[in-house]
Every structure is written in structure tokens, then in C-alpha cells.
Point group: D2
Chain length 346, copies 4
């Protein structure tokens, strides 16, 4: 490569931002041009994340200053609404962006409004851009990602649940209902301080939250499952808080005429040659430890033996990696026509 | 009370045995006559569990020696098959026993054989005693427990799942199917060393095991649900290994015509006045931390809002306490006509 | 007892406050008259601590309202300065108080000022009361505690380090220097949210803080060691943050002419008959797990074998229990002439 | 490079072996020729470590078969004694070896005998090779490592403690005594099952072990400190078991005429340009999280302010990385004249 790809990172002091910096710092084809943060503007990134000392000691710039900088690709690790707001001028200026927030994931601005808007943000910040955005589930949108200007990087629960399910729905198999019981490490809740993620309250504890049909990530999953099925799909989704730093494991109950073995066959065909999807056997079910700090999504199918019982898919990934930052990097590699695994091994 | 109840404990060096000792040591109406262990015979119990120093420094006796001792009540914390084998002569000698193993839980010896027998133990060790045994789910068998000689203390998953479900089935409500997705702390796997419970492999990890319809505790649950429903009931049960010491939380998906509010009403009525059942609101879901080191089972009902979706019960208890040792003690209090909460508060 | 002791608790929504409530709720000789909290005024205590549901569902009252209530004994779990401020009128009204803050621990108001005062609190709030306060290390001040109106309950590090050291200093043995390397569970840092106690940053991490001679608890220890030695004593103290909920273990290096065996003898004599001090052998060193959720302080002496090397004391306690709330309760039992172990076993 | 370096790994199913495989699999200049294991002979390495699926799915060969294979460099992750026994014929056949066991670390076979020999292994297995072995602390023996056939890779505690101390001793500064209080994650105890590393006993626990002067790694440290000082040095070393997977933090008390700032200056000069040593400020002390999964050793100096008090060094590294496998790889890079950071970044 003649020139390195110039990267900007908004929201660099989030956990997903720090992961991106850690990977991009050693990526052979990019250079990090700036790291930006509203709250830590003027401080060194490595003062916020001591592990980055010697890896990236840049001073964080404000989002306002970031607007003035040129870049080939900007990653946004900002919260929803704030993200689209700051990306808008960059997109209009022709910069390619990878948005880790929810802002460009939902195709229907009314659905976005229902789940993400409030008194402060009453409308989607840029409805005209929604159709330009490509849903960044690399294995399913690779071709569109290659040419996209805006990537709506999917969330961690969503990636973990869609990867085993999409091939089944795309296969045209009959699926009566789906329940996803997901368990996520605490880093998925972000770096902001809350009582339920205070160490003495999260440690040695396990809890459900937002169970039922009310989690804001459900519409995102239903949208993609409906696209895959070619008809409206609804599902039940129950997230839980797991006392580990990173990792999501989803236990997905699928009422279907398929057997677990048939499901395994379908996903094996669908993901043949995929470097970051590992299909496991029922005797060797996925675990969060096996995928921690990697871009892998592991999955297996079991259950359903005696007629009435649902098939059970188990899938696992690292919520900060394949569930966020390393999938974002995988998308960047696709966008810039680089070998897709660059910077993602080890 | 004139005389203290004389207690013997078989398998005292298991986690459940140690919990029993800890509670019984301060129980005002009992005295621990002996603690027994095959593996640690001749050592002090407090050498095996340093936390018991000053609480119980008795020397462990062999199971053979325990056979020769008199007692009013014997708790067995031995593994299945071994447990019934050693309890048999005690029962025949008229001693009341509380068996924490699976040996007397299943009413059908063929079902027991299918799930628990192997080349070494080919048959149930004492089929003639099965009908004398009372299933020790205190809130549902209190009257029978009071007069029983043999208590089959239910397992931890089973207690956690049956407590929210039994009132619904007993109410005659229409229930189409049930899926219990349970997550258990590692102490539930016992004190024996295994690779998957070695600290560096269990810590920062989360995994499913024996998912589908194949866990040996499923028949025990199906038996009790069928009794409650008055007709055969089957269910799907998926256990997971949670990186905490103690606690089980079950997320139970119930396809029913009832609403979550109706379920809440049914259990509130069913458990009115129960000292160890706490019914929570959907906004205040059970957590494992809230029940750790107590005899409480916390539960709440949510979900099911828009027609198609299942009602979701969340229940939580401490697997070593209400899921084993403190429920055993609760049963002992009932058997000996003591105030049921004695030794169980705090 | 004719009448129950009427208890008030200030700062009941702190971890130490919740522990006090949990123990006092089942204490046979007391009744909790009120629980108070500035931040949660008007809410139920059990809404803040779901584990207390059914144990104490009182509505929290404001500190201002607490001032108007009568009580036989008030525990303060408030932060320093705030604590003395609110206790002052109660003390003047004749109420006996047990202060878990640092406000009455230091006998020299100048030392207090140096370590605890700032722009907001520039002076000790009640220097005239300092001499009335008794240092609440029960085993060493039992007689004075019995008659005291004000108990200055010692901190968790301080209790853990003083208990093994005081008998040595009192014995008149020659001690050249002492280094205490202490490791504390995260609950010791309180319930307030901080970045370094956010789960993803405290979990799977270990760090030192305020090492050297600069921790504000050092003067408290030096004061008591100096009293014991009858001459000024200084020491080195290094606290560390341990990724567990509760427990402190201190590794204390003691340059002395005594051997480890002689140290063991001295403490065994000093603590003979003490119900909450357990002296262990070098082959059975204290651990935090063995004392978790108890009022025990475990200790052992080792090292020092070949002349030059220091004797090493290892001591462990639960920072919320013997390091705070259960020692406070032990002091209350002494103050009101109750059996000292009441409410403290199990 | 024309040809890749052919690598063999003995003891590949240890934690250090698996780490080596993970790093070497993506190292551009090597190919893993074989992985070997006594216990898992004939199984896939990725069946033992599911995280290695797709990274290394080789079938493990027996140590006997490994003897017959050619290789440019063999890493041994075997236990002491076994390690030297199997390396001996390889060394005699001219293969360069990196031994992660203790077998070649001690220069005096009598000292080795005292700490490592027993009824089974009564003597050092190859005393004639000791003088050929180079101590693999890369930053201090780089030149000798480049030309060595045998590398005695230092242990994790040893690396963590020597790195901050060696420059001070080499500087000729006056050091009266040193106490190292070290805390290690559980993976440091290896993959073998023991009661104290069973999850429910290690989790939420903290304990000291082998405190005093009796740990077998002390002689290794004293040997190197004595070389550095040019005179015999002894020290006190206390290891503790920390409930995290990986990471060691040492709090090192140094009685010296130097100030903390002078110590910082000395190590900064000594380690100028070193890619894997990070010197931190007293306000930004090392933590285990900042070095986890990296080859960094972080260190800082503080304390000692008022004359009498010791200077305190805090150092941290990942026990499986800079404390074992990644330092072994760093040494391999030096031995084969590759850029020293190859395969070690990220």
C-alpha cells in the first residue's frame, strides 16, 4: 500500500473505542489520525486507559475539533443520537463512517423514534441517510459493505442472535417461534457508572433485565429476521447481566420442523469458508471463554430430539469484539478492499 | 425443650454438609452428634473447612462407624446410590432421615434406573422404601413432611423451577409448554475436582451443559408438574454454569392463556404467609445476590404482553440453601414440630 | 428482657448500614426504631437493598427527622464530618452512639484536621467530645466500652492490622519496624460509584492505592500502637484493591527479636477465651473466605526463621463485619450488658 | 525469510503451551511442526482448548514421538525434571531449546537439589548442561540469549520481582533489605486440579501460601540479585493467590538510601528503548489489568518519603505472558535474529 488509511475515532474513551485503538494501532494499513472525546478532551487516551501506554499516547481532541479533521474513515463509538449528529457533516463531506451506535440500524424512522427518541431527541437526526446505510453484519452484507459510505454496525446481542438464525430463515425452513435467552458480560453496559454495575453489586450476582418484548434491540433483530424470511417475524428476547467482563452467550429456542442436525448443516453451508464463524458439535458447545478477545462467533445446535421440544442454538461472541469493535474493523477491511482478517488474528 | 434433637450428618465434607453443620451448630434445639465422611475419616471437619474452626471441630467418623450411632435425625449429603445404601439400615432401625441425594425423589424405579443407574449400581437400592418417602418441597408437602420418616430433599434446579410453576399448574390454568433456562453457581457442581470447575476455566466464562431434554433432573420436575396438573407434563430444561459461588436464577418461559399479572396473583395466594417465598414486582426482578446465604426463593412474573409471547417467570434461590441444606433444615423443623424458621433467619 | 433496646440507624443505605439492619432485624433484644438516609429519604430500605425484602421494609426517614426521634442507641454509618455533625445533638441529648466514621477515633484534633479536614470541613466538628469517645476495638477496650456514651468504631484495615499487633506491642517485645501490606475487597470502598470500582475495571484486576505513608488510616493505627508500646510508633501501610466483595487480608512484616512461635504464644494468651479471635497454625493460614460474613478475625504467625527475616503475621476479617458492622454490634452488646455474641453467630 | 523456523512444543496442553501456540500460529516467521502432550496424546489440541479451534487443530503427539522429530527450536512447557529429561537428547542433537521449567535456572546443582529434587528425582538431570544455559530474562541477558542453545526461561514471580530490582542492584546503590509481597492470578498454579484452585474455593477468596523464606523461587531471585550486586543478597518473598485468571502484582519494599525518584531515574535509564518495559508515575501505579494478555512489565516507585520508610516498587505483568510464554517468544526472536517484537504486539 502506498498510503495508510487515515482513521478518526469519535468516542475513543468508551470501551469499544479503546478496543478499536488497540487493534488499529498494530494494523499494517492504517494510521490513527485522531482520537476524540467530549469528556476527556485534552487528556491523553493512555491516561484514561493505562493499558494503552506506549500503544497510543495521543491527546484526545474535542468532537468539535474532530469535525475539522480530514480522514478516510471515521469510527463512531458515541451514544445514539449524539452519534448521527456528529457524523452528519462528515458524511456530507464524503467521509466513510462506521457507526457503532444504533442510529442507522433501523430502516423505519418511526421504529427508531419509538425506541430511541425522547424529550431531548424527538426525531431521527438524519432520516434521509438511513437508506444509504448498510447493516454491518459482515457475513450477510459483505458486498454492500464494500461499496458503502455508512456502516450501521450491529449491536452485540443482535450479532450473537442473528448469526445462527439468519441462515435458517433464509433457507425457507418453517420456524414457528424463537426465544433468545442471552447473557452478557458487564462491559456491554458501557463505561458509564451505574449502581447495578458497581463491582460489589454486579459481582457474585446474576440478574435479568428488560425481559419480555421490551428491549430496544428486539426491533433490530426482528427487522433482519423479517428480511431473511421475506415476511414479518417477531421474537422473544431476554437479556441478563453476567458477572464477567466480556462475552455474550445466547441460548436460542427455535420451534421448527428442522432437526438440530439439519440446522447445523444449513449454517455449515451458509458459513463455509468464513474465517470468523466456527460451527461446533453438540458435545463441544460454545463458551464465552473460547471467543473472548477474538472476532469469532461460535455456534452449535442441539435439542429438539423428541418431536415437541424446540431446537436449541447456542452462540457466543465477545461483545466488545465481534459484537462491536472487531466487527467494525472487519467491515473497514471490506470497505477498503483489504484482506478481511487483517489485524483481527490473535 | 427438654432434650435436644440428636443429629448425624453423612457426607459432612460436601458443600451441603458443611452448610448444614454451620446452621445446626447454632440451632437452639439440636445437637450434632456426629459428622461423617469416607474420604476425610479421622480428620477434623474444621481442617477441611477452615471457616468452621471454633464452630465445629469434631473429628469425622467413617460411614461404617456412623451406622452404629444412635440419632433422632440423620441428614445424608452423600452421592446418589451411596446415599440410599447407607441410609437403608438406619431407616430400618427407625431413624428419621433427610436425604439430599436423588435416591428417593422419583416415584418410578424404572425412571430412576434410566437416569441414575449404571454398570456399578444397576437397580434402585431400596424400591420398597420409595413410597414411604415424601418429596421435601416444604411449601407443597408440609403436612406429609410432618409425619414422614424419609424426606427426599429436592435438588436446587428443581426447587427453583417448581416453586413458581406448581401453583400455576395446580390452578388448572391452561399451559401449553414450559422452557426453563437456568443458570447455576459453581458450588452446585459439588466439591469434587473437574476441569470445567477449575478456577481459570470457570472464571470469566459462561457455558451451557446438558441442554435439551437430557438432564437427569428433568424427570423429577416433570413428575411433580404432572402431579400438580393431574396429567402428564413435559418440559424443556437448559442448565448453565455461572461464574459465581452460589445462586441459581431460572428464566422460565410459559406459554399460557394467563397474563403475567394473573400468574402473580395465583402465586401470591398460594404462598400467602409463607416465610421463605418472596413475590416481587416486574420492576424489581429477583437476583441471585438478594437470596445468597438465605432460605428465600424470590420470584416474579413478566412478559407475555402482546398475545403471542410467553409469560416469563424469574425465580432465584441459593443452590446450597433453599436448593439444598436450608430447605433440609426447614423440613427438619417441620418433622420435629419446631417453629419452621428456627435457625434459618440470617 | 422487659423492653427491647430502641435502635436508630443513620446512613442505613450504606453497605455497613444494610449489614447492621440485617443483623439487628433478628437480634432478640433490640427493635429497629428507624432507618435514615439523606439520598433515599421516603423510599423503602428494601427497595434499595432487595435482599432485605421481608426483613426490613421500613421507609427511610431524613437525617433531620431522625434528630427528632428517641432511641437508646444510634449507629451512624455516615461519612466522616457529616457523622459527628448529626451525632452531636443526639449525644448532647444523652443518647448512646456508635459511630462507624472516623470522627471520634483520633485523640489529637490536629491529626484529625490534617487527614480529614478540607475547604468544606475546616475543623473537627466537636473536639470537646473526643475525650469521651472510646475506641471500639472490643477485645482491647471492653471495660471502657461498657460504660461509654460514644464509641468510635475502628475501620476495617485498622482492626485487621491492630488485632495481631497490639498484644506484641503490649508485651513489651522489641519491635524495630512494621510493614502492613493489606488487600481489601471492593465493598470497603463503599457504595458510591467510582470508575475504579466499576465492575469491568475492578474485576480481573488488582491494584495498589495510596501506598507508602500517606493513607488516612495510618495515624489511627500509629496512635493505638503507640498507646500499646508506651512510646511513639510509626509504621508503613500499603492498601490494595482485591476483586472480591468482602474480606481483608493483611500480610504484616514485623522486624522483631521474637520468633513466630513466641508471637503466637503471646496472642494466644492475650486472646484466650475471646469468642471472635481465632489463632491459626502456620500450616493453616487465614483466608478471607473463612471469615466472610462472620465477626471472626483469624490470624497466624510465620516466617522469621533465619535471623534476618521478619516475622510475618497474616490476619483476615470481613471488612463489613468485624471491620465495621458486626464489631459495632459486638460493642452494642457490651454497652448494654448483653451476652457479647448475641446476634453474631452464623 | 526463505524458510520458516520449525517449532516443536512439549507440554502443549499446559496453559503456557496453549499461549505459545496461540502466538506462534500467527507469527510470520515460524511454523509449528508439532505439539506434544503425554496426557492428551492422540487428541486434537483444539479439543483440549476449544478457543484454539481453527487456529491449531493439530493432533498431539507423545513426547516419545516428539523425540524423533526434527525442529529448529523446541519450547518445553513440561514440569521440572521431566523437562530436562526430555530436552537432553534434543540438546545433544543440536536443537536449540527454550525451557519454561526451572531445570536450567539455578547455576548451583546443590541448590537445585535442595528445592526441586525428591525421592523420585534425586539429582539434577543434566548438571553438565547448566553452564551452557542462559537465564532468559531478555532485557538483562539479550546478548547471551542471541547465541545460546539453551534458554532457562525465568518464572513469573521472578520476572516480576527482578525487573524493577536488578537495575537498582546493578547501580551499586546501598540496599539494606528487600521484601517482595506478590499476588498471582490462579493460572499461575497451572492446569492441574487442586482443591484450593477449585472455583468455589478460589473465587471470592484471597490467601497467602508458602510465605516466609521457603518458596522454591526465592533462590532463583537471590542468585540473580547476587550476580547484579556482586555479592550475596538474600530477600523475603511472600506469594499470594489472587482470584483472577492472569496477572501478578508485586509490592516490593526496599530499604535503601535511594529515594523513589532516584529509583525511577535508574530504571528509566536502564530500560531506555526497551519495548516491553513501561515505567509509570506514582500517581499512575501499575495494575494487572493494564498488562493482561501482553508482554509488558509495568513498574513504578513510590514511598520512602520520610527517612525511615522503605521505597516501594510496584510491578505487574501477565504471569502467562511476560512471566512465561511471551517472554519465551521474545527470547526466540532474539535467538533467531528476528525483530524482537514480532508476534508480541496486540
Amino acid at each position: 500500500m502506498d498510503k495508510k488509511i487515515k482513521i478518526g475515532i469519535l468516542g475513543a474513551t468508551s470501551y469499544t473505542g479503546a478496543e478499536l485503538v488497540r487493534m488499529l494501532a498494530f494494523h499494517p494499513y492504517v494510521s490513527i489520525d485522531y482520537v476524540s472525546s467530549q469528556s476527556y478532551d485534552g487528556q491523553k487516551l493512555s491516561a484514561v486507559f493505562p493499558g494503552l501506554m506506549g500503544i497510543n499516547d495521543d491527546v484526545l481532541i474535542s468532537p468539535q475539533d474532530a469535525q475539522k479533521r480530514d480522514a478516510d474513515c471515521v469510527f463512531s463509538c458515541l451514544p445514539h443520537a449524539a452519534s448521527a449528529g456528529l457524523l452528519l457533516p462528515l458524511i456530507d463531506g464524503g467521509i466513510r463512517v462506521i457507526d457503532l451506535s444504533a442510529d442507522f440500524r433501523l430502516k423505519d424512522p418511526e421504529v427508531y423514534k419509538k425506541w430511541y427518541c425522547d424529550a431531548k431527541y424527538t426525531e431521527h437526526p438524519a432520516p434521509r441517510l438511513i437508506e444509504k446505510a448498510v447493516f454491518g453484519l459482515t457475513e450477510h452484507y459483505r458486498q454492500q459493505i464494500a461499496g458503502a459510505q455508512i456502516i450501521a454496525n450491529p449491536g452485540c446481542y443482535v450479532t450473537c442472535i442473528l448469526l445462527p438464525l439468519l441462515p435458517l430463515y433464509k433457507s425457507g425452513a418453517q420456524i414457528e417461534w424463537v426465544i433468545a435467552d442471552s447473557k452478557s458480560g458487564v462491559s456491554g453496559a458501557g463505561r458509564g457508572l451505574k449502581q447495578n454495575t458497581h463491582f460489589p453489586e454486579a459481582n457474585e450476582n446474576f440478574s435479568a433485565y428488560a425481559v419480555g418484548h421490551r428491549h430496544r434491540h428486539t426491533p433490530e433483530m426482528e427487522q433482519e429476521l423479517s428480511f431473511a424470511a421475506g415476511k414479518p417475524v417477531t421474537m422473544t428476547f431476554s437479556p441478563h447481566l453476567l458477572p464477567i467482563n466480556r462475552g455474550i452467550l445466547s441460548t436460542i429456542y427455535i420451534k421448527t420442523s428442522l432437526t438440530a442436525a439439519e440446522c447445523t448443516d444449513i449454517v455449515k453451508k451458509s458459513y463455509a469458508g468464513e474465517p470468523f464463524i466456527r460451527i461446533r458439535e453438540p458435545a463441544d458447545l460454545p463458551t464465552t471463554a473460547a471467543v473472548a478477545k477474538t472476532n469469532y462467533c461460535d455456534m452449535a445446535f442441539t435439542g429438539g430430539e423428541d418431536g415437541g421440544h424446540p431446537v436449541i442454538a447456542i452462540s457466543a461472541l465477545d461483545n466488545l469484539m465481534k459484537g462491536a469493535s472487531s466487527q467494525a474493523l472487519q467491515n473497514m477491511n471490506v470497505m477498503f478492499n483489504l484482506p478481511e482478517t487483517t489485524g483481527l488474528l490473535l
